[in-house]
């Protein structure tokens, strides 16, 4: 049949895939191996994958040497959750507006939103810093949440709008004819029907917000108890004696929650990432 490969083609395909997967996963494997070694064995020459006395000790000791680790992880979750909620509050009505209503300047405003996507937070860091200072947001959660939410709105609107445009509008029109108010339609018809799309947007926003917690926290926050995981761990890097095994253990524990979320919800995540590749 069309998709039947010859034996040597199988070998080539699997060899290529193995190489590719190895490149993507090698750092995680290395981090795991380092986390298993006692500190004395990490600094061995020549390099060895497996060394003597491997154990999970670092996973217990790290809570003592990185005393706020659990707080960093909770901060990361809290910030990413708050970003997601604020972004959804902005994205859902806006996407409905773009998908269903005709109004002056619609395409121009939508284009402006997309153009924002091109400008990263670093470019605006100077004025954002001054703005956060003026608002008194420096060294608070707000300085990490508000900019994060603002920068995730454009992608959210784009995803949500394309989802809403696929829903036939006859239901909304029928409800309108029956005298339902617009807010009632949004709450009772759009929200339930668009729930799968909303979940995709929410997960994409959450994953993005969890992945990008470095710049704003590094720049706007100097209070350690508010730090998200990346900046919390980053502080340990400038030191003379880096406890590599425990930092690797802490890093792996810190990324475990998102990896678990990813494994269970990967269909939604991939749908969010690839919207636009298929059409438009």
């Amino acid at each position: 049949m069309i998709n039947k490969y010859k034996w040597y083609e199988y070998i080539l395909i699997y060899a290529g895939i193995a190489l590719f997967v190895a490149f993507m996963l090698a750092p995680f494997l290395e981090a795991f191996l380092v986390s298993m070694r006692p500190l004395s064995e990490i600094f061995t020459i020549p390099y060895a994958f497996l060394t003597d006395n491997m154990s999970f000790d670092a996973y217990f000791d790290m809570w003592r040497n990185v005393p706020r680790l659990h707080i960093y992880i909770m901060n990361s979750f809290f910030i990413a959750t708050a970003v997601t909620i604020i972004a959804l509050i902005c994205v859902i009505p806006a996407a409905w507006g773009f998908a269903r209503f005709e109004f002056k300047g619609r395409d121009a405003i939508l284009g402006a939103f997309l153009a924002i996507n091109m400008v990263g937070g670093t470019v605006l860091i100077i004025t954002l810093y001054k703005l956060m200072q003026k608002l008194g947001f420096l060294n608070t959660y707000w300085a990490m949440i508000i900019p994060g939410a603002a920068f995730s709105i454009p992608t959210g609107i784009w995803l949500m709008r394309s989802y809403l445009m696929k829903i036939p509008k006859s239901l909304e029109e029928a409800a309108w004819v029956d005298g339902a108010s617009r807010l009632y339609i949004l709450r009772r018809i759009i929200l339930p029907i668009a729930m799968p799309g909303i979940i995709v947007v929410a997960i994409a926003t959450f994953i993005g917000a969890y992945a990008q917690q470095f710049l704003f926290a590094l720049t706007f926050n100097s209070q350690d108890s508010l730090n998200p995981l990346p900046v919390g761990i980053y502080q340990f890097f400038g030191r003379q004696e880096i406890i590599w095994n425990e930092l690797m253990a802490a890093s792996l524990v810190g990324i475990l929650p998102v990896l678990i979320i990813y494994i269970f919800l990967q269909r939604y995540i991939v749908a969010g990432l690839t919207a636009g590749a298929v059409k438009e």
Binding site: I2, Y5, Y10, G16, F20, F23, M24, P27, E30, V34, I45, P46, Y47, A48, S76, I86, I89, C90, P93, G97, F98, R100, F101, E102, F103, F113, A115, I116, M118, V119, G120, T122, V123, L124, I126, T127, L131, P147, A150, F151, I153, P154, I157, Y210, A211, Q212, Q213, L215, T219, L229, V231, I233, Y234, M248, L259, Y262, Q266, L273, T274, A277
Partner: protein, 301 residues
């Protein structure tokens, strides 16, 4: 939805209000303010004066032109590698072999986990004495002895690129894979019945149909790579001796580390100008693809 439009034409604007307010406040106003600051001598000093184009003249008389060239060079190599690895990866994962769903799951972690954490691991891997890469290099005989990748100008430049490719490739791959899977199967079957080889089918059916996705992703990837901050900052902070200082890193150092807001803003404005030209090209491409899709829809079944 004309029935819903009714009399109250302000309603759609009401729907946009939260998103617009936050965006104007956090993105549009700071953008305008950055332009204004670039013409001032703003610093920690509370007194701020307009200095005309002095900041621009100063940065273009210094190292900044070299930084611009380096940024484009860094971006060009990184994006090219991401696209090459991404296309190859998507082709492999598109093959109908057992286990392919598992492989698709396995390639995503670099994109899913916090970027900074992935880069922490890389900074260990580049360690010359004890890191994995130097170790394997010596074992294979490529390296004569321990090699500290982040300590030299050339090697740190390429090391930061490799890490950037590692972070960016999963998205490129999964995006192009989705595009390949949307190629109608009957096209392939018809060509196969006519005796077309696999390579021929890829070149004449798959490749032309995924070209819009390749172009879109390439440009988006270029924009993101241009904005890349975390990777370089964590690995090298722009060093050694400026070899990994891109425009973004230069701006951050000037403004945040040295508190020269005016000069930093002038650098930021230059970045915005470059990004705008990318963006303009991106929108031009999107509209062209949309038109072509409409034309094709008209003539084929």
């Amino acid at each position: 939805m004309n029935a819903l439009d009714g009399k109250a034409n302000y309603f759609p604007y009401l729907l946009l209000l939260p998103a617009l307010a936050l965006t104007l406040f956090i993105v549009a106003w700071p953008l305008a303010e950055t332009f204004r600051l670039s013409f001032t001598n703003s610093s920690l000093n509370p007194v701020e004066e307009y200095v005309g184009f002095k900041n621009y003249i100063k940065i273009f008389g210094g190292k900044f032109p070299a930084v611009i060239v380096r940024t484009f060079y860094w971006m060009f190599i990184s994006v090219t590698l991401k696209m090459l690895v991404g296309v190859a990866g998507a082709m492999l994962l598109n093959c109908a072999v057992p286990g392919r769903n598992l492989f698709r799951v396995l390639i995503m972690p670099p994109w899913i986990v916090p970027i900074a954490i992935g880069v922490f691991i890389w900074s260990w891997m580049y360690n010359g004495q004890f890191g994995m890469i130097s170790g394997i290099g010596q074992w294979l005989g490529i390296l004569a002895g321990p090699f500290e990748f982040l300590a030299f100008r050339n090697s740190s430049f390429y090391a930061t690129i490799v890490t950037d490719v590692w972070v960016g490739t999963p998205l490129v791959t999964i995006y192009l894979l989705a595009a390949m899977q949307s190629v109608p199967g009957d096209l392939h079957e018809a060509a196969w019945t006519d005796g077309a080889s696999r390579f021929y089918r890829f070149r004449r059916i798959t490749l032309p149909l995924i070209m819009p996705a390749v172009a879109t992703m390439g440009l988006l990837s270029a924009i993101w790579t241009f904005n890349s901050f975390d990777i370089i900052w964590i690995l090298t902070e722009g060093g050694p001796r400026g070899s990994t200082t891109t425009m973004i890193i230069d701006t951050y150092k000037t403004a945040i580390a040295r508190n020269k807001y005016g000069e930093g803003a002038a650098r930021a404005v230059m970045i915005v100008i470059f990004l705008s030209s990318f963006a303009a090209f991106y929108f031009y491409m999107l509209t062209r693809f949309a038109k072509r899709a409409m034309n094709n829809g008209g003539e084929t079944s």
